[in-house]
C-alpha cells in the first residue's frame, strides 16, 4: 500500500526545480502526512499540504499548539513515522534529493548523518544502560566506520564542544549522573556528532530551567555559527522564535496558516490566528493589562470543520470562511498566509509588481 502512495507522490511535480545556486537546503512541497486507521475508515490529516523551505545555516521556527501537526512534520522529515502514519503526497527536497522517494536503507544514511534531531526529554532519548561516551560515539562509528578508540576521542571533543566541564571523566559516566541541562547538552553532542547540515530540535528547552535554557540556546547558536548548521525549532513558545529564528511557520490544524521572515510576521501578522496568538502572550512591560484571549478550543484533527479550521474561533470570519478552505496567498517579501482576508492584499501586491 505504501508503494502506491509513494508513486502518487512522485507524479506530483507542480513547479520546476530551481537552479542549484539559490536552492534551499530543504524544501517541502505540498507535503501531506495522514494517520489512517487500520480499516482505512478514519483519516487524521496531521500534516496537510505543507510548503516550506529552509536555507543552509538559517533557523526556521515552527510554532503551533498541541495537535497542530508540528511534531508529525518533524517525524515526516526524518521518515520515522509511527505505523499508522503515511506520507500521502508531496516532496521533501533535501540538497536536491527527494527524501520521500528514498528507500529505508538510504534514509538510514541520512538520519543522524545529514539530518539530526534533538527531542524534548533528554532522559527519554538517552539510554540509561550505556555510558555517555558510548552514546556520543555511536553515530560516528555507524556512519563513519570509525574505530572504537578514535570515536571515543571524538566523543570527548564533542563534549568539550557542548561546553561540558572535565569531558574526560564525563564520557565514562551514565546519564543519571548528570543534571537535566547537561543531559540535554549530551543529546546536542550526539546531534552534531556527524556534522549534519540540518538539525531539528523539537521543544529542546521545555524541560529546562530559565537560566539553563538561556545557556542552551546560546550554545545552539554558537554551534550553528561554527558548523554552518541549519536549525528547525519546533516549539509552542513564540519567545524562542523571537530570540532564535530567521523564518517562522505557524501551524494550525495540520496546515501552515502563515509563514515568512520572523520580524515581518511579528510586526505585520497577516493571519488572524497569528495576530491573536501574538496578542495573547503577556509582555514584561505592560503589567496588569487585560490579555486578548482566543476563545474556544483548538480543533480536533479527526473532525475538522468545513472551510478554514480557525473560522469557529476567528472574530473576523465571514460566510466564505465556513465553506471554502482558503488557499495560501503570497503577500510578498517571503510572507504567505492562508486566509481569505489576505486575498485582496495579495492581488494589490501582484498588481503593483505588474505581474497580473
Amino acid at each position: 500500500m505504501s508503494n502506491s502512495i509513494l508513486s502518487f507522490a512522485s507524479s506530483e511535480h507542480r513547479r520546476p526545480v530551481a537552479a542549484p545556486a539559490n536552492r534551499p537546503l530543504l524544501e517541502l512541497r505540498n507535503l501531506s502526512t495522514h494517520y489512517i486507521s487500520a480499516q482505512g475508515t478514519r483519516v487524521v490529516r496531521a500534516v496537510d499540504d505543507v510548503t516550506l523551505s529552509i536555507d543552509a545555516g538559517k533557523t526556521l521556527g515552527i510554532v503551533g499548539e498541541s495537535g497542530s501537526g508540528k511534531s508529525t512534520l518533524a517525524l515526516t522529515i526524518l521518515r520515522v513515522l509511527p505505523q499508522a502514519a503515511h506520507i500521502v503526497g508531496g516532496q521533501m527536497l533535501f540538497e536536491g534529493e527527494d527524501l520521500v522517494q528514498k528507500s529505508d536503507a538510504e534514509m538510514r544514511q541520512v538520519r543522524g548523518k545529514r539530518i539530526a534531531m534533538i527531542l524534548q526529554d533528554p532522559m527519554a532519548s538517552l539510554n540509561p544502560l550505556f555510558t555517555v561516551g558510548d552514546q556520543v560515539a555511536e553515530p560516528i562509528r555507524v556512519h563513519e566506520g570509525a574505530t572504537r578508540t578514535s570515536a571515543w576521542r571524538r566523543a570527548i571533543d564533542l563534549l568539550k564542544a557542548v561546553r561540558i566541564a572535565s569531558p574526560e571523566t564525563r564520557v565514562t559516566q551514565y546519564p543519571h549522573e548528570m543534571s537535566g541541562g547537561m543531559r540535554q547538552r549530551i543529546v546536542g553532542a550526539i546531534g552534531i556528532s556527524c556534522e549534519p547540515r540540518l538539525l531539528i530540535a523539537d521543544e529542546p528547552t521545555t524541560s529546562l530551567d530559565l537560566t539553563i535554557q538561556a545557556q542552551y540556546l546560546s550554545l545552539l547558536r554558537d554551534l550553528q555559527r561554527e558548523h554552518g548548521l541549519a536549525l528547525i525549532f519546533i516549539t509552542h513558545n513564540l519567545g524562542i522564535v523571537a530570540k532564535m529564528c530567521d523564518q517562522l511557520a505557524v501551524m494550525y490544524a495540520g496546515r501552515v496558516v502563515e509563514s515568512g521572515p520572523v520580524s515581518r510576521i511579528f510586526n505585520v501578522p497577516a493571519h488572524p490566528y497569528t495576530e491573536a496568538l501574538l496578542n495573547s502572550i503577556p509582555r514584561m512591560g505592560d503589567n496588569r493589562k487585560r490579555l486578548t484571549a482566543i476563545e474556544g478550543q483548538p480543533p480536533n484533527l479527526a473532525s475538522l470543520p468545513r472551510g478554514c479550521a480557525f473560522a469557529p474561533r476567528c472574530n473576523v470570519a465571514f460566510d466564505r470562511c465556513r465553506v471554502d478552505a482558503p488557499p495560501s496567498v503570497d503577500l510578498g517579501d517571503g510572507q504567505a498566509a492562508r486566509c481569505w482576508l489576505a486575498v485582496p492584499t495579495a492581488a494589490a501586491v501582484a498588481a503593483q509588481a505588474g505581474a497580473v
Partner: protein, 328 residues
C-alpha cells in the same frame, strides 16, 4: 492588614539515610523567608527548580509543618490555632495545581468534584449544594450541564476551569496557584489568566502565584518574590522589579526570559554552571559561585535583605558601605 504573613519561615528536610545508616545531612528547602500577601492582591514567586517555591506553597497550604518561623493568617499564628481555627484556615486557603489531568478524579462527575469540598466541610441540603455548583460553573464560564459530565470530556483549559471552581467552592480568601497555566496550550493560557484576574476583582481573592514564566508572573502579580536556594534574594513591587531588577541573580533571570518581539534586545547575561544542591549550599551568599559580580566577602558573609530604591535586595553590592561604583 495582610491576609497571610510568613515570618522567618523555614523548612528543613532530613536527608535520606545511606545504606550504612549514616544521615546524609539536611536539605534546607526554605530557609528563613518572610513575606506578606495583602487582601485582593497577588504575590508572585519566581525561581528555578530547587529554589523552594513549591515547598513554600506546601507550607502555606498546611501540607508541611514548618521547622521554624511562623505563618500568620488574619493575624493568628497557624501553629497556635485550635481545631476549629484550623478548619477555618483550611477552608480559607485553597489550591489550583499545574496539571488538570492529574488533579481531577476521572471517576467522578464534574458536579461531584466541585461539590466535594462543600459536602465534606459544610452540612448543606442537597438542593443548596446543586445550586452552589451551578453558580460556581457559571462563575468560571462553563455551561450548567457540565455538572453531569466526566473530566475526560473536557479539554485542558476547561479542566483547569473546573479545578478553579472547586477551589472557589468554599469561598476562600487565598488561593495558591502553582503553575496554573504551564500545562495549557498557548491560546488557552490567556483565557485562564483573564479568568483568574476577573475572579480576583469580583471576589476580592488573594493569590499566591507560582510560575516559571516570568512574563506571566509579572503580568499577574502586585508583588514579586525572587527565590534562590531557599532564600529570598529580592522582593518588590512587580512592575518596578521586572523593569529594573537589582540583584545579579534577578537580573540574569529576567535577561534569560524570552523576548516577546524579535526587535526587543536585552543585555544577555548567561550564568555559568547550575543551581548547587540545597543539601550543601555554598557558604556566604548562596549565589556567589555563579555571580558575575562576586567579591571575596560574598563567599564568607551572608547578605541580608536591605532596602534599595523601594525593593528589598539581599546582595553585598548594595550594602551601605559598599562603594557605589560597584553598582551594576
Amino acid at each position: 492588614m495582610a491576609v497571610l504573613e510568613a515570618v522567618g519561615l523555614t523548612k528543613h528536610f532530613l536527608g535520606r539515610r545511606g545504606i550504612f545508616g549514616g544521615s546524609s545531612g539536611t536539605v534546607r528547602a526554605v530557609d528563613g523567608i518572610s513575606f506578606a500577601i495583602e487582601g485582593g492582591q497577588t504575590l508572585g514567586v519566581v525561581g528555578e527548580s530547587g529554589c523552594g517555591k513549591t515547598t513554600t506553597a506546601k507550607l502555606v497550604l498546611g501540607l508541611e509543618a514548618p521547622s521554624g518561623g511562623s505563618i500568620r493568617f488574619e493575624g493568628h499564628d497557624l501553629q497556635a490555632l485550635d481545631p476549629a481555627g484550623r478548619r477555618h484556615y483550611r477552608k480559607s486557603v485553597q489550591a489550583v495545581f499545574q496539571d488538570p489531568y492529574a488533579s481531577l478524579s476521572p471517576r467522578m462527575r464534574i458536579g461531584a468534584i466541585i461539590a466535594e469540598p462543600l459536602v465534606t466541610n459544610e452540612s448543606l441540603p442537597a438542593e443548596e449544594v446543586r445550586n452552589r455548583v451551578r453558580k460556581l460553573l457559571d462563575l468560571v464560564g462553563l455551561p450548567e450541564h457540565a455538572a453531569e459530565l466526566f473530566p475526560h470530556e473536557f479539554s485542558g483549559g476547561q479542566r483547569q476551569r473546573i479545578a478553579i471552581a472547586r477551589a472557589l467552592a468554599l469561598s476562600p480568601r487565598l488561593v495558591v496557584l502553582d503553575e496554573p497555566v504551564s500545562a495549557l496550550d498557548v491560546s488557552i493560557r490567556a483565557q485562564v489568566l483573564n479568568l483568574l484576574r476577573d475572579l480576583q476583582a469580583e471576589l476580592g481573592l488573594s493569590y499566591l502565584f507560582i510560575a516559571h514564566d516570568l512574563a506571566a508572573v509579572a503580568h499577574m502579580s502586585h508583588t514579586i518574590v525572587v527565590m534562590y536556594l531557599g532564600k529570598i534574594v529580592e522582593t518588590g513591587e512587580a512592575r518596578e522589579l521586572s523593569r529594573a531588577p537589582k540583584h545579579p541573580y534577578t537580573q540574569a533571570l529576567f535577561s534569560a526570559a524570552l523576548p516577546s518581539h524579535p526587535d526587543e534586545r536585552r543585555e544577555e547575561i548567561i550564568l555559568q554552571g547550575e543551581v548547587p544542591s540545597p543539601l550543601n549550599p555554598p557558604a556566604g551568599c548562596r549565589f556567589h559561585p555563579r555571580c558575575p559580580h562576586a567579591m571575596p566577602r560574598c563567599g564568607v558573609e551572608e547578605p541580608v535583605l536591605t532596602d534599595v530604591e523601594g525593593h528589598l535586595v539581599a546582595c553585598h553590592l548594595f550594602d551601605t558601605e559598599a562603594c557605589h561604583s560597584m553598582r551594576v
